[in-house]
């Protein structure tokens, strides 16, 4: 098998692919996403980090200018958080353990901290009396005063921490004050996971069934064709709804298993079709005929001579189905049938519906951009694969 794969990669198609700059760029981008997903697995293993509040709701990202209102509520948010920490039964430890993102509080006794928080609140009230802060210079000055006062409560972030907290707010926050950047990055993992699993299983099932149908013909072929006629007659979204109701109340309810199941059930069809056709052609080839004349078993011929020669079709289909899965996930999340306990691009876009009506585009923009780049890369790669290996394909 490995020898055959090596042969595959040294083929003319592969050479053509390697010369294709766009395709190589796309591969690079896909690689970056994979690394990002691995990074998420290593450093953000649970979704908790991304459900945490990091600031007031709907603040725009770094590239937008903050309104005075948001700045004010940011200060308020920080003061409140500190106050909650001080007002616990054991302020010593809760202050020591206090983390706001990567910010930690400046050393000091609870008493001292509390008095400084009081000072902060005074400054806050001084600003809050103004209706329209931006219109009056005095108010703006007071606001700056407040901000420096609040900032003084925290030890200034340095090095990596500074970078991390910058990153955290770089794309703003959603309606619950959660970091959009973090959520978008975390969603990369979800997307890659769904894409990988769904595409891989579908291609495997499709290849096995398609190769068997094409190779053996007869009733096996009839059966497979009948099966894929059935499955392709139910739109996957409908299939998913049925599955969702099937899994309801079971152990898998709300998890990714129904999602995978629905995707695989409808995605295996296209690789199966293509590979069935290709195997029918391959079967007639001399060396396959020769192999069977020599008396090799069917299984061996299939695994060693037939299926490896459909590798290019498997790659093309994998790439196409990966796109399909990522895009389908978004639609599912919108219908409330997809990912539930984690953020995903679909969940983010779904949440952003209401924000868009208020003119806040950061969340939908971030999710769309993350998704666009990945899907675009896969689209370009699929095209290049098709060009290189299957130029006759329409």
């Amino acid at each position: 098998m490995s020898g055959r794969l090596k042969q595959f990669f040294s083929q003319r198609g592969m050479r053509k692919l390697r010369q294709d700059k766009m395709a190589m760029g796309a591969l690079f981008v896909i690689g970056c996403y994979l690394i990002l997903a691995l990074f998420v697995v290593a450093h953000l293993p649970s979704p908790e980090a991304v459900v945490m509040r990091v600031g007031p709701d709907n603040i725009p990202g770094v590239f937008g200018t903050q309104t005075a209102e948001k700045r004010l509520s940011d200060a308020e948010f920080r003061l409140e958080a500190l106050q909650r920490a001080v007002r616990t039964n054991d302020p010593e430890t809760s202050l020591a353990e206090f983390r706001m993102g990567d910010l930690r509080i400046l050393a000091g006794t609870p008493k001292a901290v509390e008095s400084r928080i009081e000072g902060g609140w005074k400054a806050f009230e001084a600003v809050a009396v103004y209706d329209d802060i931006e219109a009056e210079a005095v108010a703006l000055e007071l606001l700056e005063n407040l901000e420096s006062e609040v900032a003084a409560l925290f030890s200034p972030p340095t090095g990596f921490t500074a970078l991390a907290s910058f990153l955290r707010l770089s794309l703003g926050t959603d309606r619950q004050g959660r970091s959009i950047a973090l959520r978008a990055i975390y969603s990369t993992k979800v997307a890659v996971q769904i894409g990988m699993v769904a595409a891989l299983i579908s291609v495997l099932i499709g290849t096995l069934l398609g190769a068997a149908a094409g190779y053996f013909g007869g009733w096996v072929d009839h059966l497979v064709v009948w099966l894929y006629s059935i499955f392709s007659s139910i739109p996957w979204i409908v299939m998913l709804m049925v599955l969702a109701s099937m899994f309801r109340g079971s152990r898998f309810d709300g998890g990714l298993i129904p999602v995978y199941a629905a995707f695989c059930m409808s995605f295996w069809i296209s690789p199966c079709r293509v590979i069935r056709g290709e195997v029918m052609k391959l079967k007639e080839l001399e060396y396959v005929q020769a192999a069977s004349a020599i008396g090799f078993g069917h299984l061996r011929i299939l695994l060693r001579h037939v299926i490896p020669n459909t590798a290019h079709l498997m790659f093309i289909n994998f790439s196409l189905l990966f796109i399909g899965a990522i895009k389908a996930e978004v639609i599912l999340s919108f219908l409330g049938l997809g990912v539930k306990d984690e953020p995903s691009w679909g969940v983010m876009i779904n949440h952003a519906k209401a924000e868009v009506l208020n003119g806040f585009f950061w969340q939908i923009g971030a999710a769309t951009a993350f998704m666009l780049v990945l899907v675009l890369a896969f689209n370009i790669l699929s095209d290049a694969l098709q060009d290189a290996f299957d130029p006759k394909h329409v």
């Binding site: 007659s233 739109p235 049925v242 219908l335």
Partner: protein, 317 residues
């Protein structure tokens, strides 16, 4: 021709029987009555509701029952969630709203993307071709949902705010042709925009493939203009894959209009099914899915027949 059509019909019957079988099995994995009434339902209600739908009868009897009602188009079963309303009535009421989105979207998408594909193929390799194709790839890399969200924001919200006149509804539906543009045009436009990237690329590929054929050279050698060659010789040949494509986008459109219907609150078949699933309205789910699959198979048969109409090689064999 008629015997051909009849053969296609016959061929698809076992497929449909399989679909219904699978579907009914899948829907019975979780006891539907239990799911509908929740965990604390009292046993009498359960029995009652089961009896009413005949869920207590042997599976085969239920199977033939469902088949019978699909083939005779008689859906007298009552919905569980909506007291006193038959599934047949829900179906009748939701067909028109669904069609008023799906059909115009199908026509619009096909005409526009075939036109763009023709332009692209006509100027093959030139800058306009490349620009259109880049646009198509980018367009198909954006999620459906993003189109919907932004479509609603710009079309229904921003446009109204800026012009002071409401061109499109934010959502909802009212019957009547006069109301169509207000409620349905925006979803139709969005739906077409989404499908455009895929379709344009596909149609262009078909045309590029056809334009490399020998008979194209023959036509040129006879003195036909490039336009004649493309619009007469090539297009008629390209019709074969184009028809297949249009037909195979039907399920996509059903799904697409499901999303649009849910988002824009249009009481079409997709939304009815969606709500039925949320409410565990078993009779509705069962019949609607059976109908979706039936429609799909019908569209397949129609494809084959149209195919034969266009291609003399199929028709005459």
């Amino acid at each position: 021709m008629w015997s051909y059509t009849a053969r296609r019909l016959l061929y698809n019957i076992p497929v449909y029987l399989g679909i219904v079988l699978l579907l009914m099995l899948a829907l019975r994995v979780n006891d539907p009555a239990n799911a509908f009434l929740g965990k604390n339902a009292n046993p009498e209600d359960l029995l009652l509701i089961k009896e009413r739908l005949g869920l207590d009868r042997p599976f085969l009897v239920q199977y033939f029952d469902l088949l019978k009602s699909v083939f005779s188009l008689d859906f007298g079963t009552y919905s569980w969630a909506n007291e006193g309303i038959t599934v047949g009535r829900m179906l009748r009421e939701s067909v028109v709203p669904s069609l008023s989105i799906t059909l115009p979207a199908l026509i619009l998408t096909s005409t526009v993307s075939i036109t763009i594909a023709l332009i692209s193929a006509f100027f093959r390799g030139r800058r306009i071709d490349r620009a259109l194709m880049v646009l198509a790839v980018v367009g198909m890399s954006v999620s459906f949902l993003v189109y919907i969200v932004f479509g609603q924001y710009f079309g229904a919200y921003l446009l109204t705010r800026e012009t002071g006149y409401s061109f499109f509804a934010i959502g909802g539906y009212e019957s009547g042709l006069a109301n169509w543009p207000y409620y349905c045009l925006l979803p139709v436009l969005i739906s077409s925009l989404v499908a455009m990237g895929y379709d344009t690329r596909f149609y262009r590929a078909v045309m590029v493939e056809e334009s490399g054929r020998d008979y194209i050279v023959t036509a040129t050698a006879k003195g036909a203009s490039k336009r004649k060659v493309m619009f007469v010789h090539m297009l008629k040949n390209a019709m074969i894959p184009i028809i297949t494509r249009i037909m195979t986008t039907l399920p996509f459109l059903i799904m697409g209009s499901l999303l649009l219907e849910v988002y824009f609150n249009i009481p079409g078949m997709g939304r009815v099914l969606y709500k039925a699933i949320q409410e565990q309205d078993f009779p509705v789910i069962q019949i609607f899915v059976a109908i979706f699959a039936g429609l799909f198979i019908l569209s397949n048969i129609l494809t084959d027949v149209l195919y034969a109409l266009v291609d003399p090689r199929v028709r005459l064999s």
